[in-house]
């Protein structure tokens, strides 16, 4: 409890208001200078490119209704590559990378022995948690944007581009479709916030980053499995992955905002609960390394 004594969060907040931003800046710099972060982003960027190239090279046209959403329409309109890639990435690839980053937040520092130096700087534990979470959120945004951007790019390069057909059968212009792609990216980023908070929470409980990463990724898979069991229907609206694939509602005409709102509310609930638990655990944690 020694290290906790000097770091009453409110006091430092009043004394050094600018410190949080400096800390956030250095956190983001460390995160995005890491080789691992870049490797994950490049792997994510490869998914839409792989899809686009595979569809381009295959001689047989894809039958409608087979494979992931819109796969059959990529040849007619390259703008669908981004959506198809996001559909493919949402269940596993994105949670995997986010789990790695979020699970690493506190446990990684503890493992490297840098956590105590971070706390010696008069930053306060709350602020450190917030900064760490902000870093994870930034990665969520970067990961989703990478998939969307690389998908759009691959689609534009390899296929013709034209007006986009929505799920409702209506057609929208290229400009509006890029707006919708941005909305989808925003939706998926929001979807991953709850998982990031869970990763942060688990990360405060251990000094082994790999354990926290694995636990986070496993939880995301478990949540999706539970979401598919009809026997547990009462539980479904409370699972953080419940609305993950509902971003298709943004591809209807008119846009159905219900799932966007429900999803945001649910993720906010996870952030609040996991954040409170993480704060409780982390502020009581004996930081020895």
């Amino acid at each position: 409890m020694l290290s906790a004594k000097a770091n009453g969060p409110t006091r430092e907040g009043a004394v050094r208001p600018g410190l949080g931003w400096a800390l956030l800046g250095s956190e983001l710099a460390v995160l995005f200078r890491r080789l691992r972060t870049w490797a994950m982003l490049i792997a994510l960027a490869a998914v839409p490119i792989l899809i686009a190239v595979a569809v381009k090279l295959s001689s047989r046209p894809t039958a409608p209704g087979r494979g992931p959403l819109f796969l059959d329409r990529i040849t007619q309109n390259g703008l669908f590559v981004a959506v198809t890639a996001l559909v493919v990435c949402v269940p596993l690839f994105l949670p995997f990378t986010v789990g790695v980053v979020a699970g690493d937040t506190i446990a990684g520092e503890a493992n490297l022995g840098t956590l105590r130096y971070l706390l010696i700087a008069p930053a306060g534990r709350i602020r450190l948690l917030l900064v760490k979470y902000a870093g994870a959120v930034a990665f969520c945004l970067a990961a989703t944007a990478t998939v969307a951007a690389s998908g759009a790019l691959a689609g534009v390069v390899l296929f013709p581009v034209g007006p986009v057909t929505l799920l409702s059968g209506d057609t929208i212009s290229v400009g509006e479709s890029s707006l919708r792609s941005l909305l989808i990216a925003a939706y998926i980023t929001v979807s991953l916030l709850g998982l990031s908070a869970i990763g942060l929470l688990i990360s405060t409980f251990t000094d082994v980053p790999v354990g926290a990463m694995a636990a986070t990724v496993v939880l995301s898979v478990v949540s999706q499995v539970l979401d598919n069991l009809p026997q547990l229907e009462w539980l479904h609206p409370w699972l953080f992955s419940h609305h993950w694939l509902s971003f298709a509602d943004l591809l209807r005409q008119p846009i159905s905002w219900t799932s966007f709102g429900e999803n945001a509310l649910l993720q906010a609930g996870y952030i609040a609960v996991c954040g409170a638990l993480a704060y409780a655990k982390f502020s009581n944690k004996d930081v020895l390394s």
């Binding site: 959403l69 298709a248 409170a276 409780a280 009581n284």
Partner: protein
């Protein structure tokens, strides 16, 4: 360690506060509303007088008929008849847009997919996003009323409506009677109200954020499986906003259809102008003025659908119109050949020999749902029974199976 304990406090209080908020929210949603009391007659008059011409809303349908849930998508999904059965299990969400008497749009919101019905005057478009196929129905204007009865994507109300004695039911000439709104369903049930039906008023509540009067129809006849039907009527406009059907001997509601969102302003006109997207498979159909729809012909492929245009075998027109109409012919006495025996809630609809499509018996998933009985197969649910005889006769009704069998034996 008191400081440590105090630090855990927010971690305990916050989930607690969230839980309280959730509970309060759900309590408030179900809370009774205070409305000036009205008699059942007054509420019925309100429904009859309703002036709502345009609306956009989201309806949610829940069916708990005791049938096993059929996968709606994925490798196990069955086309055709099973997709009709699909609406007898689980829950579905749809958006409904109505503008005036001749324009309506229905969007069935599936996971990552959507099925649309766009009605604009004499033109009707059906669109299915799963296989990107569109069907264009053109109707000679005078027979619009007939078309409505034939609309394939008329999933739920149609099915139950069919079991109602719809013979004398007034058919207002507006398409919103065809999109599965609580209003359409309620009008079918209200048409069944007879001397044997007890009509009472339950406590007022709220549906889709609007205060409603609850009208309870209680068929006193023991011939039917229906225990009671509750119709929630908007206190302002008299528009039915929700219908809940309870079956005898089942605690959970067997079937419910209600708005979760409702906006009574005029929807965007562009919603009713449908142009099939590029690359979609388009099937053109012209409906004859009379007799009513070719779609009621069982399992015959549409001759006017060019074979080259035909999509994959499992992807005919959206929702495979035919089987549903066979299962429970939605057109009462108007369908050629179909007869309605007996009156009121216990009525039985009979289709002549050769009506049962082969699909009904050949589909493995359907055969699972069907049980073998003397001289045929039967589908029994807590609310609805269907008897398919080996000679192709079909009997259906909201009655126990024995009644169907005795009706079949009587002929």
């Amino acid at each position: 360690m008191t400081r440590a304990r105090r630090r855990w406090l927010p971690a305990l209080l916050l989930p607690l506060a969230l839980a309280i908020a959730v509970v309060l929210g759900s309590v408030q949603a179900g809370a009774s509303v205070s409305l000036p009391p009205k008699s059942a007659e007054e509420i019925l008059a309100m429904i009859a007088r309703t002036q709502v011409r345009a609306l956009s809303g989201t309806v949610e349908q829940n069916a708990g008929l005791g049938l096993p849930e059929l996968p709606a998508s994925g490798p196990g999904a069955a086309p055709g008849a099973a997709s009709a059965l699909e609406f007898l299990t689980g829950s579905h969400t749809a958006r409904v847009y109505v503008d005036g008497p001749l324009k309506a749009r229905l969007q069935i919101l599936d996971q990552m997919a959507e099925r649309d019905v766009v009605i604009n005057g004499a033109e009707v478009w059906l669109y299915n996003s799963k296989d990107n196929s569109a069907t264009h129905l053109t109707v000679p204007t005078p027979s619009l009323a007939e078309l409505k009865d034939a609309l394939p994507t008329k999933p739920t109300p149609g099915m139950f409506a069919s079991d109602m004695p719809a013979t004398e039911m007034p058919e207002p000439d507006i398409p919103r009677q065809d999109v599965p709104t609580p209003e359409a369903l309620a009008s079918r049930f209200l048409a069944a109200v007879d001397a044997s039906t007890e009509v009472t008023v339950a406590e007022a509540s709220s549906v889709a954020g609007r205060s409603v009067y609850s009208l309870v129809l209680n068929p006193r006849s023991d011939e039917t499986l229906v225990d009671s039907v509750t119709i929630d009527v908007d206190s302002e406009t008299g528009l039915p906003l929700g219908v809940e059907v309870r079956a005898k001997g089942q605690a959970e509601p067997a079937y419910s259809l209600a708005y979760t969102q409702l906006d009574l302003s005029k929807p965007d006109a562009a919603l009713f102008d449908f142009t099939p997207p590029q690359g979609a498979t388009v099937i053109e159909k012209v409906l004859p003025a009379r007799p009513v729809p070719s779609m009621t012909q069982p399992s015959t492929p549409e001759p006017d659908a060019p074979a080259s245009d035909a999509p994959a075998p499992d992807a005919t027109t959206p929702d495979a119109p035919a089987p549903e109409d066979q299962l429970t012919p939605g057109h009462g006495s108007r369908t050629h050949g179909a007869t309605v025996t007996s009156e009121g809630w216990g009525s039985v609809i009979a289709l002549p020999a050769g009506s049962a499509p082969a699909e009904l018996t050949s589909n493995p998933q359907l055969s699972q749902a069907l049980q073998a009985v003397d001289g045929g197969r039967a589908l029994t649910t807590s609310l609805l029974s269907v008897l398919i005889l080996d000679d192709g006769r079909v009997y259906a009704g909201m009655v126990p199976l024995e009644r169907l069998q005795s009706a079949a034996a009587a002929q």
